[in-house]
């Protein structure tokens, strides 16, 4: 094949660089504003693209107030508990659906597949949570999203691809289903479980509407709702607990909260990125 002309290659490179800049520049500006000094924010008329004297005052201020700290703890708790339970239930369900001849696996598979076609709707969901007495309970944020039919199907596809000889060998050695799962299947499926688990974690971390719907008590708000009230709706961020000369400007405080909400995502992203191309696609093509 003839190599593309230099003009073609140049314009392609330029286009892709532009695409990347459109993603990177906003993040850069968010971080810069959170670190900028009050004088700089005033001089720039709001937001800053590059701080000349970075300071962590804004971060000290938001963690002194207590609201952000509490919301952060709530979000971390929901994400950790939710992801653990979700991964456990999804693995067990996917595994039992992948074993030939396990009792009732055909109808159960249909029940799971069918959920991909419809969603129960907001009002019936609200009524159910209310009937179960879960309003204002953290369980209302964890349980409804525990099983995603899509992820079950992906994991089942992966389990089905494991060589059958392994299961035969385990059976001959006298392993029961639980032992087979823990000793054979899980160690071989670490990659897919990691990817699925991280997707669950990101979903729990980012959830915003379920909390708006089910949690009325503002003391129980997760970080996304606090972020909405401070950053999107412009509720003034209190900095009463801040000890220092000049309280950081609102813009810096808002952007600091935004950065805090992004840190977990940025931390898991490289790991996620390394695995999802492999794990997800194998599952998606099979599913």
């Amino acid at each position: 094949m003839a190599p593309p002309s230099p003009l073609m290659r140049g314009s392609k490179g330029l286009l892709l660089m532009l695409c990347c800049a459109v993603v990177i520049v906003p993040f850069l500006s968010v971080v810069s504003t959170s670190l900028a000094s009050p004088a700089e924010v005033t001089a720039a008329g709001g937001y800053v693209l590059w701080p000349s004297q970075p300071s962590l005052d804004a971060y000290r201020a938001i963690f002194a107030g207590g609201v952000v700290t509490r919301a952060l703890l709530v979000s971390v708790g929901i994400t950790v508990v939710g992801t653990t339970l979700s991964l456990a239930c999804t693995t067990l369900l996917a595994y039992s659906l992948s074993r030939p001849g396990s009792f009732g696996s055909k109808p159960v598979l249909m029940i799971v597949l069918f959920t991909l076609l419809f969603s129960p709707g907001m009002i019936p969901m609200y009524l159910l949570i209310k009937q179960l007495g879960l309003l204002d309970s953290y369980w209302s944020l964890i349980l409804p999203g525990l099983i995603s039919g899509f992820l079950v199907i992906i994991m089942r596809g992966f389990f089905l691809d494991l060589p059958g000889e392994l299961f035969d060998a385990a059976r001959i050695d006298g392993a029961n289903e639980v032992q087979t799962l823990l000793r054979i299947v899980v160690p071989l499926s670490k990659a897919v479980m990691a990817v699925v688990g991280l997707f669950m974690a990101v979903a729990y971390w980012n959830a915003f509407f379920s909390a708006l719907l089910y949690i009325n008590d503002t003391d129980k708000w997760p970080l996304q709702l606090v972020l909405r009230s401070y950053v999107v709706n412009d509720t003034p961020v209190g900095a009463e607990g801040f000890v220092g000369e000049v309280a950081p400007p609102q813009q810096s405080l808002q952007m600091a909260i935004l950065v805090v909400s992004l840190i977990p995502i940025v931390l898991v992203y490289p790991f996620l990125q390394r695995h999802f191309a492999k794990g997800m696609l194998i599952g998606a093509v099979k599913g």
Binding site: I111, M122, I123, N206, L213
Partner: protein, 288 residues
């Protein structure tokens, strides 16, 4: 059975709520309860049958936004995937991918906040315009630009992520086809038309079907977050209509009725679009 806890959750949170739709036919009063509330027949569906103006606004906004997004959002990942696929250097490709996938993992709250911070009245763009003594652009909170704004947000957030499935399809095209085309003297453009696009046609169809099935659902969280300054006339969609009438105003029956009809039509759209795919000889979401 090991799958029992998972199965219980699926049934409890996917199937049991369907029973709650019964209040679409009732005058539901929370403290009386679902069972004791009086039956009212089809009365709650009157907003749909009689064309209540608020409902019609929500419906038409939903359809307009959906169609605009199918026209302007859907092709972007395909173009981007073609562009990425034509890169020779694997390393550059991987770096660009990591950057472009990142916004997908941000919550809508974060994306909306970032857009306000870039394009809002006190945002980066307008502060710069002001410092150059130019006219500022009222982008955020402007009803006329609302559809454009939310569409560009969807592109910013998910266009990169959307390339994954097309890139996978592109990598499955047999290299020999390109070689044969090149031997036959096909230019790069003709190779694109005769080899690449036919090679990913079935995936494009599949994704379009899924989109069509979702035509009544448009970025609920995204729109809910930005409705305040824009006003309902430009921004009310079916999901926000259900939320406002049901949860906020306590008009539970009407909200449930609209939600129920929306859900039923949605399932029919998915099945219909799938049928359509089979007619055109494509694989569809599920096989027959």
């Amino acid at each position: 059975m090991l799958g029992l806890p998972g199965l219980a959750v699926v049934v409890l949170f996917n199937y049991v709520p369907l029973l709650g739709n019964v209040i679409a036919f009732k005058d539901y009063v929370p403290y009386v309860g679902i069972l004791e509330s009086p039956w009212v027949g089809w009365q709650n569906f009157q907003v749909i049958f009689n064309g209540d103006p608020e409902f019609l606004t929500a419906l038409s906004n939903t359809l307009i936004i959906s169609l605009v997004q199918i026209a302007f959002v859907f092709p972007v990942p395909i173009a981007l995937a073609l562009l990425l696929n034509s890169l020779v250097s694997e390393r550059i490709k991987r770096v660009v991918q990591s950057v472009l996938y990142l916004p997908h993992f941000m919550s809508w709250v974060v994306v909306v906040a970032i857009f306000q911070h870039m394009l809002g009245n006190a945002g980066l763009l307008n502060s710069w315009l002001r410092s150059q003594e130019l006219v500022t652009l009222p982008i955020i909170g402007n009803p006329d630009l609302f559809i454009g704004l939310i569409t560009s947000q969807v592109i910013w957030k998910d266009a990169g992520w959307g390339t994954i499935i097309f890139l996978a399809a592109l990598s499955n095209i047999d290299v020999q086809l390109y070689e044969a085309a090149a031997v036959d003297g096909a230019s790069r453009l003709r190779q694109l038309w005769h080899v690449t696009l036919p090679g990913i046609r079935s995936v494009i169809f599949l994704m379009l079907i899924l989109k069509l099935g979702d035509v009544l659902t448009v970025g609920f969280e995204q729109i809910l977050l930005q409705q305040g300054p824009v006003g309902l006339h430009a921004s009310e969609v079916l999901d926000t209509y259900v939320y406002r009438n049901g949860v906020l105003s306590g008009d539970w029956g009407v909200a449930a009725a609209v939600g129920l009809v929306k859900g039923l039509v949605g399932v029919m759209l998915v099945l219909g679009a799938n049928r359509l795919a089979h007619v055109f000889g494509e694989r569809g979401v599920y096989s027959r």
